[in-house]
């Protein structure tokens, strides 16, 4: 029994909470606990004899730290709930401790308020359209939430149409609701997406990468052919080019971008540009 006890002690000793700052940009697994910057002293074995000197003792980031996707508060620590890379963003205005989140790769979309998504109209019941956005429930879209829509002037939306809109209500307890106007009442690019084109699905991580401010992939794609493209945060992309062949090529490139390195991508683009 003594051996067994020793073995158990050794296997349990490997686990302790780590400082969030020390784990940035590394892969974290569900179940790990992270310490916020104000709590790092005196934690963990081996630090008993040393207290690091703090240069700005007054500037503790004891302000509000925002817990983003993949993290949950657990007492005064952060518990990781999804697998991915831990990221941090400094606060812009200097207040608070910034945002921590886990960048995970996922295909299934969960509606979030404010996200712009592409949905497919599945049913029309009375004054509400039911729109499939890829989540667990279809979202509801009122016919009055289009630019210039009134009770007499109904928008021309049929079952099977593609809609680009944003969520105004999206939480775990209620049915998600979306609209195709912004807070000023203007469409701002939202509404029914036109005829033709191709809708396909990619992972959520790829969409976030493509929508990042300086995305090379988009710039290169833009130089290839003239195209119209709509990105939905639910993993759906609608693309339309002059001919069907070009549309299909673009769709294949975007789907393949997930797995290609930058060099492979440049090769493919240069080969396409020549032909």
């Amino acid at each position: 029994m003594a051996e067994a006890a020793a073995v158990v002690a050794e296997s349990l000793a490997g686990y302790r909470a780590r400082a969030a700052r020390a784990v940035l940009e590394q892969v974290v697994l569900p179940g790990e606990e992270l310490l916020l910057p104000g709590q790092e002293d005196g934690e963990g074995p081996g630090s008993a004899g040393e207290r690091p000197l703090r240069l700005n003792a007054g500037a503790r980031s004891g302000g509000r730290v925002v817990c983003g996707p993949g993290l949950r508060r657990c007492g005064d620590r952060l518990l990781v709930t999804k697998c991915g890379r831990l990221r941090h963003k400094e606060p812009g205005s200097g207040n608070g401790g910034g945002v921590y989140w886990v960048d995970s790769q996922q295909k299934r979309y969960v509606p979030v308020k404010g996200d712009h998504v592409i949905g497919i109209v599945t049913a029309k019941s009375g004054d509400i359209f039911k729109v499939d956005v890829g989540g667990s429930e279809p979202a509801s879209l009122s016919y009055l939430s289009f630019e210039g829509a009134t009770k007499r002037n109904r928008p021309n939306v049929q079952v099977g149409d593609l809609i680009y809109g944003q969520f105004v209500v999206a939480n775990k307890d209620m049915e998600p609701e979306m609209v195709c106007i912004d807070s000023c009442g203007r469409a701002n690019g939202m509404g029914v997406i036109g005829q033709d084109g191709l809708l396909f699905k990619v992972t959520l991580g790829l969409i976030r990468r493509l929508l990042a401010p300086d995305c090379e992939i988009l710039q290169e794609v833009g130089k290839l052919y003239p195209l119209e493209i709509v990105f939905g945060m639910n993993g759906r992309i609608w693309v339309k080019a002059k001919t069907i062949q070009q549309t299909l090529i673009l769709a294949n490139i975007l789907e393949a971008c997930e797995h290609m390195t930058a060099d492979q991508r440049k090769q493919i683009f240069s080969r396409l540009a020549e032909s």
Binding site: V7, Y15, V27, L29, G31, T81, C83, R108, G135, G205
Partner: protein, 198 residues
């Protein structure tokens, strides 16, 4: 079933199980739970239709997953884990548990910890064998399967068959806890490899 969100193929020696997770997806009104996700596990044997043995294993796997998955974040949805046995050479339940855990992690289902399955067999001399083959399981006096969580190696689920004493149970549990280290290390390495490609 529209899209498989993750397929994973852990192999305990020659036992391999393919796992897929669908969810959080729509759930039938009769099965929905108002404050948490409905977890369903489907275990398909290599040959034939699922029978009673599969049902009981499904129940064990479901209870383990429910202890670990944060279902409260997705009420009135369903999370389905489908396991297909590709080859069975012993320690099947442990392999299914490992596959289910990796599939859940990869699908992005929020979890409070990882879990792994370890099988122990005690033969007639009292020797402890970890991850027994089918032959060793048949000849063993007792076969014990444990599901352990990754945070403090606590016991999530145990299912046992055969005769064993109290002290032997503790011994097996300790050995399983030590062995689970290797499984968790494997999880960590494979997930790091996956994220290093992007």
């Amino acid at each position: 079933m529209k899209q498989v969100l993750k397929e994973s193929l852990p192999t305990n020696g020659d036992t391999s199980v393919l796992a897929g997770v669908y969810g959080p997806a729509e759930v039938k009104v009769s099965k929905e739970i108002f404050n948490k996700a409905t977890l369903e596990v489907n275990l398909r044997p290599k040959i034939g239709l699922p029978g009673v043995a599969e049902k009981s294993r499904e129940r064990l796997i479901r209870n383990t997953c429910e202890a670990v998955v944060l279902g409260a974040l997705h009420p009135r949805t369903s999370i389905t884990v489908v396991l297909q046995v590709v080859s069975d050479a012993g320690s099947l339940l442990a392999c299914c548990l490992n596959a289910a855990c990796m599939a859940l992690v990869d699908a992005g289902v929020p979890m409070r910890a990882l879990f792994c399955g370890v099988t122990c067999a005690l033969d007639s001399d009292g020797t402890l064998l970890l991850d027994p083959t089918a032959k060793q399981e048949k000849e063993a006096r007792a076969v014990l399967t444990f599901a352990l969580d990754s945070v403090e190696r606590k016991l999530l689920m145990s299912t046992t068959k055969g005769l064993y004493s109290d002290a032997e149970l503790q011994q097996c549990l300790a050995a399983a806890q030590a062995a689970s280290q290797h499984v968790f290390r494997f999880y960590r390495e494979s997930l790091q490899r996956r994220y290093s490609k992007s």
